[in-house]
């Protein structure tokens, strides 16, 4: 009895400490938010901690300016499209590939598997120039087909995760389906896919986090004359037009962070489970 009371007291102390850490954790984002509401001149390093006041408060002006001058909505659309198309493509192709690898034993399967594992280790800098050139030659340099590049470079992790899961999948159900007259495609989509759902989700989350935030690959591969993703736009804010527009930059950072945070709060359960599952496999 006394012991549990003591535990409760300790837990309360821990609660308070954790809550304080939480505040410290969200503080950087709150700081950016407050500054995004201030006028340009009040965002110098010495005045960054000032709260917006009547003199420096500019409302949504920075947001309007940031959106209009940097074509932010366009960047947002490109980022969104690239992420969605790449992740869908990766899920489809890699799960199929992984099923083949696990069910068929041969040179092709083991070759593919080891290549995938190998590709996970290779740092992007190793291939950045040649990959950009290859993409350019094949005209895979716009937001609508860059997903093929992402499939190529991101296949490793996805195939690895899918095979990790499929190895523990019983083969009997599939065999039964085959005896019933299904062809492999039907088996895959009707039998294997539903079982794969949890792995699909975790893979999707990991790949989305990567593609959405990726900076260097789109910078080098995309046709910069026409397309700029969000990370590229943020980076371009610094030093474009000979000046750093701190206000609009903060506003755009907020606009970038907000949808991600909202998405996260809505799908929190899946995201956290996905990360755990991904880590255990990986």
């Amino acid at each position: 009895m006394e012991n549990s009371q003591k535990t409760r007291r300790i837990n309360n102390v821990i609660s308070v400490i954790l809550a304080l850490t939480c505040v410290a954790y969200v503080y950087p984002i709150v700081l950016i938010f407050l500054n995004s509401l201030k006028s340009e001149r009040a965002i110098s390093t010495s005045r960054i901690f000032e709260m917006p006041n009547t003199e420096t408060f500019t409302g949504v002006q920075n947001y309007v300016y940031g959106i209009t001058s940097m074509n932010f909505l366009e960047s947002f659309w490109y980022s969104l499209f690239i992420s969605v198309s790449s992740v869908l493509l990766i899920l489809l192709c890699c799960s199929m590939c992984a099923w083949y690898i696990t069910r068929v034993h041969g040179k092709l399967s083991s070759g593919m598997y080891y290549l995938c594992v190998f590709s996970m280790v290779v740092p992007f800098q190793m291939v950045m120039f040649t990959l950009a050139k290859t993409a350019d030659t094949l005209k895979l340099n716009n937001p609508y087909n860059i997903c093929i590049i992402y499939l190529g470079f991101g296949a490793g992790l996805a195939v690895f995760m899918f095979t990790g899961f499929m190895k523990s999948m019983p083969v009997e159900i599939e065999e039964a389906a085959m005896i019933d007259g299904c062809n492999p495609l039907q088996i895959f989509f009707r039998v294997v896919c539903p079982i794969l759902k949890p792995t699909m989700i975790s893979t999707a989350i990991l790949e989305t986090m990567w593609v959405w935030n990726d900076y260097l690959l789109p910078t080098l591969v995309l046709d910069i004359k026409k397309y700029r993703t969000i990370p590229m736009a943020i980076q371009y804010f610094r030093g474009s037009y000979g000046k750093v527009e701190m206000g609009p930059m903060m506003a755009c950072i907020m606009l970038t962070v907000l949808p991600v945070v909202i998405m996260y709060l809505i799908c929190q359960k899946y995201i956290i489970e996905g990360v755990v599952a991904g880590a255990v496999k990986g």
């Binding site: 340009e40 001149r41 110098s44 390093t45 010495s46 074509n71 366009e74 659309w77 490109y78 499209f81 198309s85 493509l89 120039f129 950009a132 050139k133 350019d136 030659t137 340099n141 716009n142 937001p143 609508y144 087909n145 997903c147 093929i148 495609l185 910078t219 080098l220 046709d223 910069i224 004359k225 026409k226 980076q235 371009y236 610094r238 030093g239 474009s240 037009y241 000979g242 000046k243 750093v244 527009e245």
Partner: protein
Amino acid sequence: MKAKKLLSLGIACTMAAGLLAGCGSSSGSGSTSTATGDTGTAASTSGASGKVYYLNFKPEQDQQWQDLAALYTEQTGVPVTVVTAASGEYETTLMSEMAKSDAPTLFQVNGPIGLANWKDYCYDLTGTPILGELTSDTYALKDGDATLGIGYVIESYGLITNKTLLEKAGYTIDDIQSFDDLKKVAEDITARQDELGFAAFSSAGMDSSSDWRYKTHLANLPIYFEYQDEGINSTDDIKGTYLDNYKNIFDLYINNSTCAPTELAGKTADDSRNEFLAGEAVFYQNGSWEYVNLTGEGGLTDDDLAMIPIYIGVGDEANQGLCTGTENYWCVNKEASEEDIQATLDFIYWCVTSEEGTTAMANDMGFVIPFKGAAESTNLFVKQDQEMTAAGKTPVSWNFTTMPSENWKNGVGSALTAYAAGTGTWDGVVSAFVDGWATEAALNEG
């Protein structure tokens, strides 16, 4: 058996095709929904005869170039795309863009050193009409017999002075004829800063948007005077004879500024300009290209402004003029298709000869262009430069085109920043300047 194999192959092909088509068709619908945002790109896909892709070096004039390009496209139907590299990232962007199949047709090098890296990609401009328009052969950048670049803008820089504030402090620009004068005035203003309500110099910001004013432009002066002494135009081995003078002027800037030297590292070009515009400082080191930003709505007027030479206490100061020259040479990409090269040549010819082009370059961009058809500039600083030259003063030439590399500039910039903030010593600057020069020059040799 075989039929089944064929069937599966067929399915694979359709699937692959479907994937590609899926991406392709969405590309069609996607681009129509987004094409409204960017000018020129819509047209660039339809251009059959030739197109221009200009990788612009000067971020300050990005909007003006976009407008001029749009005007040209409107008049001739030739698509012109202008992309401006972020400040300090021209080389990075050029490197990655030149590797692409749709490479820039028109790009810039900053002088002989820059040309050395890119000469394999420069179209020989000998015999092209634009060359005939140059007022002087000195603006053609040559490699042997071939003319590979054309200097398209002459600019001046110095100390932009707010005359009104200077008078409030009890001086006129005629009182400043040497470094000693400048020092006296600046230190007097600092001593009375609280009473006057303004400082001598706007912040010497060392953020990458601003540090070129010191690591490149200010550094030109000691280099210039050393070259004068030695009677040379370039060197692999700088001695740093006048680095003490460089230190004196930089000290003057940072110690008589709107903010403490330690804060300079984070100050941007905008901060510095805003301070000057808000009347918080009398002097602002920058060039004729700033004229557009300083005047105009709510800004200063010609009556407030003047540009005076940067005196560092060397040479014949009474006859020293502004720093005038060019570091902007146009090069046409040799690797581009013939139509594109022709389109590019036509475009730059139009820029420097047509009324729209010359007016835009003179007024909107504030350039003096070394071409016969140049429009009279309304730029006060440009006029001042002409007056000074007419009065017999010798302009200081731009020798930073002979600095061995961007890396050297960055090294000096980092050292200056550290020195200003007190985390580094002046010896660090000297070492980055002199030793860094030798190292980088040796690397250029291969």
